[in-house]
Structure formats: structure tokens, C-alpha cells
């Protein structure tokens, strides 16, 4: 017995030492032991190439936000190495608590060369002095980046005239969602598709009275429904933190003068049973379930969910169909829909990176016209075809590129929006729905006024917490557990807890933009 245990302990110790000898800094399972090749396809040699970039290319370490595949073994990783000559290893932040982890990594000066950051993370790090100002590097090695990225986009990453990251936006202006309603039931009840709020109310009431189903279902995560709020002049988006221009200045949607009216309207719907009574506790999958199982007539549908919803509905009710509501008109007969054209990601280089020039060079190479196209949509004739000024995917080859966008560190804004639409065209249902949605939204866009603002301290600090606070309170108003008489005291608290500070700073920036 004693012998067995001693033996086991020995084995355990051996395993432990074997494991730790692989050291930290990440295990690399990269198959290709590609020796540093020449610069391959990179025809765009940096102006005035100096000694810094000559010689063997170092291995770069890139920190990315969470995603569900192994970036080190994916097709695009090898492709990029082949084309640029830079071997890059990728680490990912976790899905939960990414900011905490990022802070731990950064405060311990973990040696990354490129980091793809969210706006919040970007600001925290810039403020902490962890990021290298990139102005010089961009001038020397970033010609493609300069050419491909608009000035307004650059300003989002500029603090005190220093550029601290490569901003990646450029997906274009698109509507994300709309209301959809059961077409077959409308026909059955001889109702027209509603075009404004009053008609909507009438239709919902008729559906409840005659069909006995839940007229309108949704998720408690979205208490300010863009399609309805816009009829009150509140042009928000699903993320519920829109900044709107009112009387020459900007206000957060929470301060919009007609917010109370909106809540009152929704409360009315709730009281009369026109809203799903479980709205506050529904997740988005519950809303989809209610709609696709025939328990509900209307819901808000994001275009990327369209195929699964269409399939599920058809499967359960082969004769069922749904129709997209046009964006509802307000009292003046005008429809609007909010959109945020902001920056999704910021590519930054930490101050302690030892490969700053190479990192910039690498990001620049990826934006070279032909290479950039190939990264996103592959080769013409192999992965995609070009017809009528549009890109169409060739399946199944195109599927190799599903995760390609993960590797982007900046986009060429003049072309990127046309490229990624190729992905949408993969699925005909998805694409039809997407196209229809954009046609309906054409000309109706109201752009979030702070889309291209650089990170602002008070907004970074308070926004998330206040958005949750507002959402929570709105649900209480809508469900009737809190009386709208207390709206003013709620708003006062919102302002005191950071709303006023945000407003002040937002307007300070906004006034410099006129």
C-alpha cells in the first residue's frame, strides 16, 4: 500500500514537472514550422524602409476578444503567415470577465504586440498609459491604413491628438431588426399591416380579441423597442444607449422628453394584455419560441436570426408566413430608425511591445488592396464571384472564410461593407430578409451622434451601469409594478448617478464637432 502510494506520488510529480516545463507564453500547436519567408505578396513596401524592418520577421503575439474557434489552427492564420511572412500566435480573452482579465494581463505587462480591444477596454488602457501612441508608426509604416480609414473614424481613436489605436468600423449603415407579424393571421382577420402606432394598437387588440394568442412578445433585455420608440422621436438601437440630437445639443436617450410617453404607451399595451405578460422575464430564445410555436403574433426580429425563425415557423405551421412591418410613422407621418455607425474594435499596441514597427507593418500589409480582399472573401472564381457590382459566395469553399473577420486589424472602409455582404448572401433566406429590411430602412436612418466620438471618461464609467438601471426601471413601469408618477424621481437619480456628468462631457465634445 505504501509502495503504491509512493509510486503514484512519483508519477504525479513527474507529470507536474513535465507540464510546467512547457513554460508559460502559450503552447503553440501551429503545424507549419514556416521559416521566415520573404515578404511574399506584400507589394506595398513601407516608404523609406529602414533597418528596423529588415532581417527576420519576429513572431507576433496578438490578443483577441473571445471567439469560439481555435484561431491558431484556422485556415486564415496559415494564409496570413504565408502572405505576409509574419507568424502570429493568438490568445483570446474569456467570454466572461474579459475586462478583469485584460487588466490583469496588462498590469503585469504581458508581452503582446497587437491587441484587439472594445471601446471600453481601449479607453481604460489608454487612460492607464499602457498604449503606444501610433502617429509616427502610422506615418512611417501605415500608408494602407491611412488610405483605407476615414478621418472621422480616426478621430474615434484619437485622444489629445495622439492616435492610440487603429479603429475598425466600416461595416456601413444598416438596420439590424424590425417588427414581424403573422401574415396569415392578418389575412384571416382581414387586417392591414399597420403603418403607425395607432394602427398597431388596433391590430394588436383585434388579434387578442379574435385569436386569443399573445399579440406581441419580446425579451426583457430590450425594454425600449426601437421600432416603437422611434415614433416618439427616440431613435435608439438594441444596445439602448443612444445619443440623440435635440435642440442643437446631444442627450442620452434616457433624457428624451418623450420617454415617459413611450413608457406610458407600453404600459397601456401591457395592462390590456397586448404585450406578453412575461415580457420582463423572457430571454430572446423564449420570444422566438413563442413566435415560432404559434403562441404569439408579433415580435422583433434581428436579420441574422431570420433563417432559423423562418424554418422553425414553417416546420410547425407549413401555411404560416410572416411579414415585416414597415418602420412605423410618428404623428407627423415620418419614420425613423436609429443606427450606430461606430467603431467595433480598436487595435492597439502596448507600450512594452518589442515589435512595434513590425506590428504596424503587419497590420498595414493586411490592408493592401488585393490581400485584404482575399482575406475577407477569398479568391475570385474559387470562393466568390463578382456580378452586378456585388459579391456572391461560392459554396462550400466560402465556408472556409467564416471566421476570417476575426483576423482583421482594420478595414478598408471603401470596400469592406460590400465584402461582408457576401457572407450574408450565403443563405438565401437570410439575404432576402436582409435586403428587404434595408430597403424598408432606406433614407430613414438617424445616426447616433456619438458614433465616432473618442472614449469619454464619464461615459465609460457610467454608461453600462446606468443603462441597466434604466432598463430595470422601465420594465417596472411597463409591467405596472412602479407607477409612472415616480418617473421624475427615477430620472433625477439617473442624472445624479452619472447622467449629468455624461451629458456635460458629451456636449463638450459635440460642440467641437460643429
Amino acid at each position: 500500500m505504501k509502495k503504491t502510494i509512493t509510486l503514484l506520488m512519483l508519477i504525479a510529480v513527474m507529470i507536474v514537472s513535465a507540464c510546467s516545463s512547457s513554460g508559460d507564453g502559450g503552447k503553440n500547436t501551429n503545424k507549419e514550422t514556416a521559416s521566415p519567408t520573404s515578404t511574399g505578396n506584400a507589394t506595398n513596401a513601407p516608404q523609406g524602409e529602414d533597418d528596423v524592418l529588415s532581417g527576420t520577421k519576429p513572431q507576433l503575439r496578438q490578443l483577441q476578444p473571445f471567439d469560439r474557434f481555435d484561431p491558431n489552427t484556422y485556415f486564415t492564420a496559415g494564409f496570413l503567415e504565408e502572405k505576409t511572412g509574419y507568424k502570429t500566435t493568438y490568445d483570446m480573452l474569456p467570454e466572461e470577465l474579459p475586462n478583469e482579465k485584460l487588466n490583469l494581463l496588462m498590469s503585469n505587462r504581458e508581452k503582446y504586440d497587437i491587441m484587439r480591444l472594445t471601446k471600453e477596454q481601449f479607453f481604460t488602457l489608454a487612460e492607464a498609459g499602457a498604449l503606444e501612441p501610433l502617429n509616427d508608426l502610422i506615418d512611417k509604416y501605415g500608408s494602407n491604413l491611412k488610405a483605407g480609414i476615414e478621418d472621422t473614424t480616426w478621430s474615434a481613436a484619437t485622444i489629445d491628438e495622439k492616435i492610440y489605436a487603429i479603429p475598425q468600423g466600416g461595416t456601413g449603415i444598416y438596420a439590424s431588426s424590425s417588427l414581424v407579424i403573422r401574415k396569415d393571421w392578418l389575412e384571416e382577420l382581414q387586417l392591414e399591416v399597420p403603418t403607425n402606432r395607432d394602427e398597431l394598437y388596433t391590430v394588436l387588440k383585434a388579434i387578442k380579441d379574435k385569436k386569443g394568442v399573445i399579440p406581441f412578445t419580446g425579451t426583457g433585455q430590450v425594454s425600449v423597442i426601437p421600432e416603437i420608440a422611434s415614433t416618439f422621436g427616440i431613435a435608439n438601437t438594441l444596445t439602448n444607449s443612444a445619443w440623440l440630437e435635440v435642440d442643437g445639443g446631444v442627450i442620452h436617450q434616457a433624457e428624451h422628453p418623450r420617454m415617459k410617453e413611450y413608457l406610458s404607451f407600453m404600459n397601456k399595451l401591457y395592462k390590456e394584455g397586448l404585450l406578453d405578460s412575461e415580457w420582463p422575464i423572457n430571454t430572446s430564445s423564449v420570444a422566438i419560441e413563442r413566435f415560432t410555436s404559434g403562441q404569439s403574433a408579433m415580435m422583433s426580429l434581428a436579420w441574422w436570426s431570420a433563417p432559423s425563425v423562418v424554418n422553425a415557423l414553417k416546420k410547425n405551421f407549413p401555411d404560416a408566413d410572416f411579414v415585416t412591418l414597415p418602420f412605423l410613422k410618428d404623428e407627423q407621418g415620418v419614420s425613423t430608425i436609429g443606427v450606430n455607425t461606430g467603431i467595433t474594435y480598436f487595435m492597439a499596441i502596448p507600450k512594452w511591445s518589442e515589435n512595434k514597427e513590425h506590428a504596424m507593418n503587419y497590420m498595414n500589409l493586411k490592408l493592401e488592396k488585393d490581400l485584404f480582399k482575399e482575406i475577407v472573401i477569398g479568391q475570385e472564381g474559387v470562393h466568390h464571384k463578382f456580378e452586378d457590382g456585388k459579391y456572391f459566395p461560392i459554396l462550400p469553399a466560402f465556408d472556409d472564410l467564416n471566421n476570417a473577420s476575426f483576423y482583421l486589424t482594420g478595414v478598408d472602409e471603401s470596400v469592406y461593407s460590400t465584402y461582408w455582404q457576401a457572407r450574408v448572401r450565403k443563405d438565401p433566406i437570410l439575404f432576402n430578409y436582409f435586403e428587404e429590411l434595408q430597403q424598408l430602412a432606406d433614407g430613414l436612418f438617424v445616426i447616433d451622434r456619438l458614433s465616432n466620438a473618442p472614449p469619454i471618461a464619464s461615459i465609460s464609467e457610467h454608461s453600462q451601469k446606468l443603462t441597466k438601471f434604466s432598463n430595470d426601471t422601465y420594465l417596472q413601469f411597463i409591467a405596472g409594478t412602479a407607477s409612472l408618477d415616480t418617473f421624475d424621481s427615477y430620472l433625477a437619480k439617473w442624472k445624479a448617478d452619472g447622467g449629468d456628468a455624461m451629458n456635460k462631457d458629451a456636449n463638450a465634445w459635440f460642440s467641437t464637432q460643429k
Binding site: N99, E100, N103, L104, M106, S107, E120, T124, A128, G129, A130, I214, G220, D276, S277, E278, P280, I281, T283, V286, R290, Q295, S460, E461, H462, S463, Q464, K465, K468, F469, N471, D472, T473, L475, Q476, A479, T481
Partner: protein
Amino acid sequence: MTPSYFKRLRLDVVREWDLYLMLIPGILFLLLFKYTPMYGIVIAFKDFNIYDGLAASPWVGMEHFEKLFLSEDFARVFKNTLIISIYKIFFLFPLPILLAVLMNEIKNMVFKRGIQTIVYLPHFLSWVIVSGLFLQLLSTNGGLINKMIVGLGGESIAFFMNTEVFRSVLISSAGWKEVGWGMIIYLASIATIDPQLYEAAKIDGASRFRQIWHITLPGLVPIIILMFILRLGNILEAGTEQILVMYNSIVYEVADVIGTYVYRIGLGQQDYSFSTAVGLFDSVIGFILIITGNYLSRKFLKRGIW
């Protein structure tokens, strides 16, 4: 502390030298992994910035604690924490014990093993999944429970949005999830009771219930005491993970606990100091309770953790 005291001390230690030897790895482990980082507690008293580091962060004393105790929601949140935690202890602590005793009376080994394995399954599901399950079960739109209630002539109950029943939902779901798992340690304890005691009792004509009362339960007393005292140690943890996924603003009034409240007001910021301060508060209370519990247990029940 006379010289002879030290002499006796040395003799005792030397005589039992191999016991101390056995203790060394554990103590070393403690010192290294637990006590070396212990200085981090001072973060609770500083305005900590992770980039400036601990030394450079300014000292603020009790500021974070004041922020916690003086916030207008603290009273409500503290009350909820205690109520939910005490309800949970009261209802859910005895359940696994009871189940273990009953399970012990099952003689069919196949049935016994099978049911034991099934009953602990929910422990392995995450709260996200369990929450979704209960939402569906208790839904007013086709949920099983409400169907039954209505079928029996009652009215639908919106369990998740009703401040009067929501706490019961929390406790019931926690019970359902953990009772099978909690049973295991008591079953193991029962397994160590000398079967000769049962034999002797049967010969004396003792009924099943008397056997349980006089043999099984007393045999469980040591482990029950240990479990209970330790349970007191996290009395301020009312189930943050569970409540975070299950609650909503409609029931904040009765379900918002310290953990969930701190989570919400900290959204978007990484205020390590504040969360450390709250954690320290929890720890101090818990520690006091454990010391007290152990003291009382030693005094009245003649046994304790130390």
C-alpha cells in the same frame, strides 16, 4: 511559561515528529498559496488602481465600507440576504439528512444505487440551464405547474414576477438542484455506522423508527455539526450566482441581495476596492459565526471543529 514547559513542549514534538512531518506539506501549501497573497486584503482600504499598483494607490480607510453601509439600498439588500440565506438553511439544511436516512432504509441495492445517481444529476447543470427550466415550468403561458393549478380551479401565478412567491421559487429550485448531491456525504457517514449496533437493536425488538432515532441519527451527529458550523460561515452568501440569472427588476425588492447589488452598481467599472471591501465584510461576519458556533458546540455538545 517556565523552562519546564518548553522542555515538555520539545519532548511532545519530538515524540510525535512524524505527525508534524505529515503536516508540513499542507502547511507549506497554505502558506504559499493562501497566506502569501493575503496582503491583498488591504485593497479594501485603498483606492486601488491596478495599473498604479498597490503601494502607489492611496489609502482611504473605511470609505468603501461607508459607501456600502450608507447606500440607500443597503438596508433592503442586507435584509434580503439574511432572509433568503436563513430560509435556505432552515429548509434546505435538514433535507439531505432526511433523504440520506430514508435512502438508508432502502434495501434493494440496484434501486438504491440507481436513484442515488439520478438524484444528484441536477447538481451538474449550470444555473443558466436550471433557471431556463424553472422559467418554463412555472410559466403562465403553458407552464406545467400553472396548468395544474388552473386545472384544480385556481388562478395562474406569475411565479417569477410575484414578490410574494419568488423567494420560494429561489429556495425550491436551489433545493431541487442540490439535495441529491448534499445527500452523498451523509450517506457516506451512515455507511460507517457499525452494523452490529443495528443487529443488537433488532434482537432487542426495536422498531425501524427507534433504530433510526437511536442509531442512525446519533451516528450522523458529528458530520451534521461540522456541516452546520461551516454553513454558518457563508451566511451572507444567499446564492448570488443563482439569483443573478433568475431575478429581474420586478422582484428586486425581495430578491436583491448583497452579491447581486454589488454586481449591478459595479457594471462597466472594475472597482476592485469596493468588491474587496464587501468580500471582507462577508468574511468577518462568517468567521465570527464559525468561531461562535464552534464554541457553543463544544460547550453544549462536547464536540466541535477544534
